[in-house]
């Protein structure tokens, strides 16, 4: 267990919740709802950037030396070779997607109320952000399982 993993996971999941908030606000927006959606998108972007920094610091300073060799020597080496490798790179999409979402919400106002296509655009981007952020949590679970399986294999 490492505090940076906890911080990474908490920031990432609250960031995902912020974009669920954006998604819900954009289903039937009004001016007050748009204001909340903008605040939620900014909060979500900051949280995902925080998750990037916390997870990245852990990955660079701890994971490579202390966790990766154990997973690779255990019964589920794909947990690193496929899952960690995918997670660390696909995660890089998230801060930029979140900044895009916030940027578009800042750029337009009444267009979101009057034009259905503008609403769908934000629904697509925020929905994707939510799914990708939760898939990161799922991959984190698989990586932890790979580590635990390796430790159990050595103990038993």
């Amino acid at each position: 267990m490492h505090i940076l993993i906890g911080i990474h996971a908490v920031l990432g999941e609250i960031g995902a919740l912020a974009f669920i908030w954006v998604f819900v606000e954009m289903m039937n927006p009004n001016l007050a709802g748009l204001k909340r959606a903008r605040a939620a998108a900014l909060l979500g972007a900051l949280l995902l950037i925080g998750a990037w920094i916390a997870g990245g610091f852990y990955y660079v300073t701890q994971y490579g030396a202390a966790v990766k060799p154990i997973i690779l020597s255990g019964p589920l080496p794909w947990a690193h070779s496929v899952i960690t490798e995918t997670k660390e790179h696909v995660f890089l999409f998230l801060p930029f997607l979140s900044l895009l979402s916030w940027g578009l919400l800042r750029r337009y106002q009444s267009e979101f109320i009057q034009n259905r296509n503008f609403r769908i655009a934000i629904l697509l981007i925020s929905g994707l952000l939510v799914l990708m952020a939760f898939s990161m949590a799922g991959m984190g679970f698989m990586i932890s399982s790979g580590f635990r399986a390796a430790l159990e294999a050595k103990v038993i």
Partner: protein, 101 residues
């Protein structure tokens, strides 16, 4: 506060997504490219992050005076499609890399 150009922020997001995909694959097959990323950021993953941020800002500035679209839906579809296919390409590559040993 600066007015954001929607066309530019969409273009820079799509560019960065495909740049991340390209850097990910290239750093696995090219030692010199991985070394270059390490030189940039002390770790190849930090190097990818720094290059991505710089390209995002530069691409945004490059298109910041461009004409904005009537609708942002096609841009959003391009972003979502790029993210989904980009993620599948990265996932598929690492499966292939693992299976082929």
């Amino acid at each position: 506060m600066m007015k954001i150009n929607s066309n530019s922020v969409i273009k820079s997001t799509v560019t960065v997504i495909w740049l991340i995909v390209a850097m990910t694959l290239l750093s696995e097959v090219s030692g010199p490219f991985k070394s270059l990323l390490i030189q940039i950021g002390s770790h190849h993953w930090i190097g990818k992050g720094i290059v991505s941020m710089v390209v995002f800002v530069v691409t945004y500035l490059l298109f910041s005076k461009s004409k904005e679209p009537e609708s942002i839906l096609s841009g959003a579809i391009a972003v979502v499609g790029s993210a989904v296919f980009g993620a599948l390409i990265i996932f598929g590559f690492f499966i292939w890399h693992f299976v082929s040993g």
